[in-house]
Amino acid sequence: MNRRNFIKRSAPWLSLPLLLDAMPIFAAKPERALDRLNRLALEEDKILVLVQLNGGNDGLNTIIPLDQYSAYQSARANIALPEQSVLKLTNQTGIHPAMQSFHNLYNEGKLGILQSVSYPNPNFSHFRATDIWTSGSESDEVESSGWLGRFLNYYHPEFPDNYPNEEFKDPLALTIGSVVSQTCQGPVSNMGLAVSSDEFYFPYQPPAEDEIPDGHYGAELEFMKTIMRQTNQYADGIQAAFNKADTLSPDYPQSRLAEQLKIVARLINGGIQTRIFVVNIGGFDTHANQVVAGNTTTGTHANLLGDIADSVSAFMDDLKRMGVEDQVLGMTFSEFGRRIRSNNSSGTDHGAAAPLFVFGTKVNPIVHGANPIIPANPAQNESVEMQYDYRDIYATLLQDWLGADESLVTQIFDRSFQHLPIINTITNIEDSVFANGNWLGQNFPNPAVRSTSIKVFSNKRDLAVLSLFDNNGRQIAVLLNKEIEKGEKVILVDTSSLLPGIYHYKLNLGGMQLSKSMIVKK
């Protein structure tokens, strides 16, 4: 069943905006489904975790264009990472060696990378650029609400009046820290709350006093009353969720980011209804000394990247141990990338496009897009050109993950958008074919344009052969022909040279043949 059709038919869904996909994701694993039923609040909800990198992350030292190594090296000789140190993601593209645990996540099929994300006419001011990224606006447009704030506001136009209520007992969004996220700023009030630690202290029984005077003073007083009321009303639920669960992963590093993610994991596992979480890590404004001279794989930037990779990986491990891994999808973002050329202080100045990471078991675990082009002799102020508009990524997440329909997404960004294959939406096991405990999944995206991925599951270590046929039955390619480990494997298929039409792929595994069809479009 097409999920969007399903949504359209079920009108009451509008009042249950974040209880999205009613189809059983885990039909193949009944024991897990039962466990999950016991955690009432969780059900089939999808959770989005945003990791904000404040200061503008240096994308070229995060994801390294190995196919242009010499141009990269000469543009930023004082901070370039040695070629051998870079961890390979593909033959052309590598990742900073401090991000070993992200390299592992990538190999496990839980990390996707989008190259060169930005927007037309980029802004180089921290504040303006942050406003753009949090609001989802055009470069020359001032929008004071946040993209997730508008999304939430659509379903909860009355918020904060009459919230929390029976249906929505918990905050709609939570920032971990002491400042609410601008991303969740609605047209009128912020749609989210902040929580900082395990101490949720609560306090107020002010006398009933409904008269609010007109004017600015009245507006501020009303705001203050709302904050106090919300804090009181939400506190017990947040505390209860937090106390119900404990951190299960031993892998968290000692860092502020790790502490924030620990709280998110505990709240999720404790059954909180909240679907949107925002965490932060600062320090990316590396104008000077971002590496240790002569040992460029170490220093400020390496520490920051290592912190992100280790904290997020531990978070994923924690979620896995809690049995909620499949519900969570995360994304990093930063207000801009940095210049192609480094400066003389072993640092980098404000630039434009940069890569971002998406993580979770449901991401399409590939490097999206080509490496940025590094000119032979870039100008001092030259930045990486944009390949992906950041709003297309937001739009895709809203549509494929949080279940917003196309018209709403278009309304939120006031523009049409290009859907991107970031998330593997084939969560319904019924779309796969089974035999003897092995299965073959529907390719994603389907129809395919430039590339697509196919999931194969083997119940033991075994020889697997996957072949591609055209509609006339002619074999076109062998996509896989080797022994694979027990478990899920993702095969990436380059479809850019195929003519449009219908194709079939067949899997020989465990003495059985499984086959499915796919469409290729231009």
């Binding site: 921290h126 020359d140 609400s145 902040a194 107020y204 600015h216 003073y217 009303e222 804090t231 104008h287």
Partner: protein, 526 residues
């Protein structure tokens, strides 16, 4: 609810000068308001009070060593001592604590509030500057220029050690200009950013201007040993620097260490620079919303005054604080208190003060406590979150509301619950509590429970109590007790101050009253 449209102007306020008007002025210019300051202001009138606020003041005391891991003995003034690696971190904490002391023990002067304003304007972060001497030097610059000339202030700060380090001026050299400072100079410190009207064009300046300004500023260095600032001709870009048509295509020719002066004079020749300051002052002292009416009635004339005074700011500032607009009823209490107003103000006006005979460690333990409280409430002095300063003063649409959320409001409540209790704040062997008996003694009618409740509420809340609130607070003070009993008990204590049991009983009642008073949403507004 209706948002009123304010049409008032900078014309001099001619309305009633009463406690409400005086409190509004004092709350915006001081950290908290004491009963004596209020009485003096009400009696003296508006002009008197404003003159009083603008009187010159001297710096009291200087930052001292308070830890024993310093190479100097505890109590030493370290500001002119050589840099010492081992002692530096402790001295940075000493500096921050001392700055908090300036607010906690603020005199009847607007000076310290303006220093905080400028700190939020010409931002530095101590974790980046990392040198206690450079930080103190920065405070000194703010102190000397707080009520001075904005343009000359910009010149001094541009080549100050703290700023050279904070925004990488130290690595801004001819062979590789570092534009970090140049960008913020335009965007935040002077003319401000307009809307982006073309690639790299922010209306009032362009990317080209940022780059040219960075080149103008190449070659300025400070010496890590003695903090002296010098200009190094060999590191300076001697080519001509061409600016965009936003600056009439002005060209700065090679002129060595004089070029930065020409650069700043060029930026200040534009009216927008005065407007940018006028808006920031408005948001600091009045309210965050600036619509077309405010822009026309307040910002423009304020900027005109600043330009007419050749960027001396006192005239414009006094004009604003004496204006009919400033005293609009709906602007009184329209500001969510900043952490500095909230906690430092609470201490300054209503708690046991630190006596002179206390040890340096005991005093610093208290200053440090407020430093840490403010940090928890998201306002650590000398450590704003970023170069734009604190969100409350620039982040649309919430502005001051950024101070208040489900984390910080409960923390504020924890603080007020603690100060209004027997335990108070115990640090370094000294216990500081709310001076509840003093506060009542200073009331005009101390033995009438309703008068006490009303008078103390006026001191701490922006508006007079409603009947419901008044009844609630009377019940918080003397729950279930006939109201005349308060007068009896109070007079008994007056007659026999040595009756400690009665004193404690009354104190406990008053603590409960203040905890309730401080729990009102209105208390968070100022």
């Amino acid at each position: 609810m209706r948002i009123l449209n304010l049409n008032s102007t900078l014309a001099k306020y001619a309305g009633t000068w009463d406690k409400s008007a005086a409190l509004h002025l004092l709350r915006r210019c001081l950290f908290g308001v004491s009963q004596t300051e209020l009485a003096e202001s009400v009696a003296g009138g508006m002009d008197y009070t404003i003159d009083r606020l603008f009187q010159a003041r001297d710096l009291q005391q200087l930052p001292q060593v308070y830890l024993n891991n310093d190479v100097l003995p505890i109590g030493s003034v370290w500001i002119d001592q050589p840099y010492d690696q081992q002692s530096n971190n402790g001295r940075i904490r000493s500096f921050q604590s001392w700055w908090v002391q300036q607010m906690l023990q603020n005199t009847f002067s607007i000076h310290e509030k303006m220093i905080l304003f400028w700190h939020n304007h010409f931002v530095i972060e101590s974790a980046v500057v990392r040198d206690s001497r450079a930080l103190f030097d920065y405070y000194k610059i703010l102190n000397e220029n707080a009520l001075g000339n904005f343009r000359e202030f910009a010149k001094v700060i541009t080549i100050s050690p703290a700023m050279l380090r904070y925004l990488d001026g130290q690595s801004n050299v001819n062979t590789s200009p570092n534009e970090n400072y140049a960008r913020e100079l335009f965007e935040l410190f002077t003319i401000g950013k307009g809307s982006q009207i073309g690639e790299g064009n922010y209306t009032y300046y362009t990317e080209q201007d940022v780059f040219s300004a960075a080149r103008v500023l190449t070659g300025w260095r400070f010496n890590n040993q003695d903090l002296s600032v010098s200009f190094r001709p060999n590191l300076h870009d001697t080519n001509e620097k061409i600016f965009s048509d936003a600056f009439d295509n002005h060209v700065i020719n090679n002129n060595g260490d004089q070029e930065y002066i020409e650069l700043i004079d060029m930026i200040f020749s534009k009216e927008e620079t005065a407007k940018h300051l006028a808006r920031k002052l408005y948001r600091w002292f009045v309210y965050y919303q600036i619509d077309e009416t405010i822009e026309m009635n307040i910002i423009k004339p304020l900027a005109d005054k600043i330009i007419q005074d050749d960027y001396e700011i006192v005239g414009a500032l006094k004009m604003l604080l004496k204006s009919e607009h400033f005293y609009e009823q709906e602007l009184r209490g329209s500001m969510v208190k900043s952490p500095a107003d909230f906690s430092n103000g609470l201490f300054r006006t209503s708690m046991d003060q630190l006596t002179d005979n206390l040890s340096v460690q005991a005093k610093y333990a208290h200053f440090l406590y407020y430093l840490n409280v403010n940090a928890l409430l998201q306002m650590e002095i000398s450590s704003p979150p970023q170069v734009a300063g604190w969100q409350a003063y620039y982040q649309e649409p919430a502005y001051y509301r950024n101070w208040a959320n489900s984390v910080t409001i409960p923390l504020r409540k924890q603080l007020t619950d603690q100060v209004a209790s027997e335990s108070g704040i115990l640090r370094g062997g000294f216990r500081s509590r709310l001076r509840v008996i003093d506060l009542v003694e200073n009331c005009s009618t101390s033995d009438n429970v309703r008068e006490v409740v009303k008078e103390l509420s006026i001191l701490f809340l922006p508006k007079a109590l409603s009947q419901v609130q008044e009844d609630y607070l009377v019940q918080a003070l003397i729950p279930g007790i006939p109201e005349y009993e308060w007068g009896n008990q109070w007079r008994t204590l007056q007659n026999d101050p040595s009756d400690t049991n009665l004193r404690m009983a009354i104190e406990n009642k008053l603590y409960a009253f203040f905890r309730a008073l401080f729990s009102l949403p209105e208390f968070q507004l100022g």
